[in-house]
Symmetry: C4
Subunit: 308 residues, 4 copies
């Protein structure tokens, strides 16, 4: 999806040599958009969890959380889509770098701004639902137990889940995310319709929540999980947020990196590498054109590269 | 979104000098559309609450109310979208004026018509669900208690919510609304697809309900809240509708004004101000064009202004 | 929406004089499409009710019925959209005739085919859920009581609803339907995006179910209600289906006719009549064009009529 | 939908004579895409069932399964849409062959790859939810009874359903699927909007789940059902998966073939055969054009064939 369609950022780590000031300006521009995108996604996402938990089912159910994160992602893409690409996810940014669609020099900017955005969003939701949280748990901020509230902000594994099964869970979840993101942005296949990218990505995240969420809350995103976890450590839940679930915290940080690259590679190996080259494709069409008019939807697959 | 794309109205308070009769006609035209938009949104929105409350859960749940207001807003935008802009929300109209997208002289027209629309919608829902309401509460119209029905029409805060927390709740909710509306209509970023604006705005309102609704029922709109509240005061619930929740009524009137401006400003500061100027942008593209064909989606960002 | 965009059918009752055989062929063509559209909508709609009733909540809830009818309508519009217009509703066809968008001579064809479609759909659902219905009610097909199953096919009012309140309910529901349909197809306002008409109409029907459905099951459509009711009278529920609810059956037949015309008229009076005439509009734009390029979205409002 | 829009594959069994190597390459290309499409659809679909079953209602409900399969199908179409057509369903491939839209020689490739995809998806979900399944059923993998888990992978009929009623259920379900798929891809009617095909097909599958799912779990797809059933037979549920429900397993394999062809034929007979031929259509329009400009949406129905 995102960065893929957007030229300016990608160029950074590569060929053209822009002036130093322009580079700094550009980083500020991209960083601000990425931070705001992530902030918006996280306010909506965390808000939906807070509402379901503190409302004891009167203000939504598990599906509301899926909607909150799914549509939250869609709005996030609207906020930063054509500026930063609105990754809002360190695993996405990392995969983009690895596949040459984002300069490595931009990676720290993206990750830092994502973490700032999600940290601030956790703070916003904490302020907004302060009364509701205290009313719900009686002022006792716990990470586990019947009135646990730490799960509003960061993810924790189900009690039955072993750590390596949890790692696999996060790898597969993020692999499915990147695999589908690759398809949604592959202009030589059946991509998201132009202008419909935000909602397509949002529905994908909703779908992952509906299908792959019950084991450990589908973080599938280091930036989504780590920022709010740090916030809760500071805001009153204490170091237990890092100890819970056998020291679960590092799983949604590391596993999505592995999963993201895996998923994107699978798409490349199964589909993208086998696309006919534009030239082959063009020649084929020209052959057919001698007999009958080429169908429109094949022509639009032609990229403007020169064929010899 | 709305007024932004529509030229005629904006002109009013500004440069061109149309004849007096044309101005009056135009106000009538815009006012009628704005009133009908708001009426349609409110009939659907209030109807969904009435159905959930009087049906005791057999005809929908909290999510139905989110759908009712979300899709109701979408239909409202279809009704008045290209005539009045279909603000349906005094906080939106106020922000549009402040940012120069609507003439101040039109503000009273918008607010008045919105209030008339939502007042009449409350009346319609009262007539439509009259039997259901009386069957539910046994003819005793109350504002609080187990069989309260005033909440069908206007919003009331949760019992645990302090007044200043409620004010913050309405500020943040409306800020998220305007922040995202700015992005959805920013043609130099990733806006709602052409023709898809109504459903995009509808999904945004649904999302706010899913994420930021449990504290006080997400009025985030003075016109949505005040009109029906006045109706209930007259129709049998009495002055208690203004006293309940420590005199809650003024919060959803004032806080959204503050929040709307805040949210729109945040988008401006974080994203809009940093867009490259069209000329810069064009020159950049022309530079690249010497080497390779410019990607299509960058070209469409160019506005037809003259660059020197 | 539908018939409005489609030229051939409208012509019938009017100016051009096609050969008799062509007229008969055309009626067959339009009638078959209208019947199949209605059939598809009704199989999906009635199926969703059957599933919720006989599944006792394990296979869906009230919202599923809203989805079943909403998306069912969308699929129906895909089936017959550009052939018959896919009204699937006698109240829509009647309003189209009254406003000159369908020849009166076609009205009986539409209504008859709609009734055949919905009758056959009731038969299909009865066969499909025969085992489930008998398992649910123990073979005792009743119209009211705890194990009533007639409500799977036709609508019945809530016990608390008086007959005149039910009439009002159906008038208002259908008025909202037609009011919004008029807006969705008004090319000089903010219509449904091209190609997105089916889903827009589907979401509208979903919305009416979410907001205006609990009083009497939102028939808002004589064709949807009468066909299946006749089927149940024959299939084993007997004449009680016409007696229940104080002889409710005629309300969803007559009231939608009144409501449809009312709703369409309201849109006309509040919005459509006030659209600037194309000539006015064009001149205005030409004036502006002297100063700056006219925005694209205004130009597309121009119809190709001659302005002098 | 799918294969219909895609030229290269169809050609295979027919006129042009490509080199042998190209044919093999093409089969690999199409097969890989079809397998990955089916895999993605099934991971999301089966995942949603696993989550609802093992979560005992805390992580979704019946509607979540409808969303999981519906949006899963949409993502599957994005994955293979313009490469293999993303049938993901042997009944769809079979109907395409029968109606001349896919060469018969390709049928085994499609079916085999679909089965491999759904088998692997079952394996993935088994690994992913291994802890959850064992925690839920206490390590006792059963096909029926209160803690049955075989239904996570393959479909089983409701206890009340006779075998021939189940056959009818699968015939009708698949008939509705193909009937609507034909309409969604009929460019001379009201098809899915360009680019919106994946979501339109996804909503159709969601709708079938909402309306026609409670009798036997709406397999409507041999590839979806048989692959995972074989997996469960091997993975620990044993041969009981083939014996359960009076030897139910062959019904979702055979009945969808019958249903698919039936549904597609119904659309052809009721709608497609009656489309005016392009030449008739063109002449008609030219006639009208003498009087007034032809409406745009009729012109686009013209195919570029030569009319004499």
């Amino acid at each position: 999806m995102h960065a893929m369609e957007q030229g300016s950022v990608q160029e950074h780590g590569r060929s053209r040599k822009p002036s130093k000031i322009w580079v700094i300006n550009e980083r500020v521009r991209v960083g601000l958009a990425e931070a705001l995108s992530t902030y918006v996604m996280m306010v909506f996402g965390l808000g939906s969890v807070a509402q379901v938990v503190t409302g004891r089912g009167a203000f939504g159910e598990y599906l509301s959380v899926n909607l909150g994160f799914g549509l939250g992602v869609a709005m996030g893409v609207h906020i930063g889509g054509r500026v930063s690409g609105a990754h809002m996810n360190a695993a996405v940014s990392f995969s983009m770098c690895l596949f040459g669609r984002l300069g490595w020099r931009m990676l720290p900017v993206y990750i830092l701004c994502q973490l700032i955005g999600s940290f601030l969003a956790a703070g916003t939701i904490y302020s907004l639902y302060y009364d509701a949280i205290y009313h719900y748990c009686g002022g006792n901020l716990t990470v586990s137990g019947p009135k646990a509230t730490a799960g509003i902000f960061a993810t924790y594994p189900a009690p039955y889940l072993s750590l390596h099964a949890g790692f696999l869970d996060q790898v597969i979840g993020t692999a499915m995310l990147l695999l589908c993101l690759m398809a949604l942005s592959d202009q030589r296949n059946q991509p998201a319709p132009s202008g419909g990218e935000p909602i397509a990505v949002g529905l994908l995240v909703l779908l992952i929540g509906v299908s792959l969420g019950s084991n450990s809350g589908y973080a599938i995103n280091p930036s989504r999980d780590l920022g709010p976890r740090i916030f809760t450590a500071i805001a009153g839940w204490g170091p237990e947020v890092f100890r819970a679930g056998n020291g679960w915290w590092w799983v949604p940080v590391l596993a999505p990196m592995v999963g993201g690259v895996t998923g994107a590679s699978i798409y490349k190996v199964f589909v993208e590498l086998h696309h006919p080259s534009p030239c082959e494709h063009r020649r084929e069409i020209e052959d057919e054109a001698e007999e009958e008019a080429a169908p429109l939807d094949m022509q639009k697959n032609l990229s403007p590269e020169v064929c010899v």
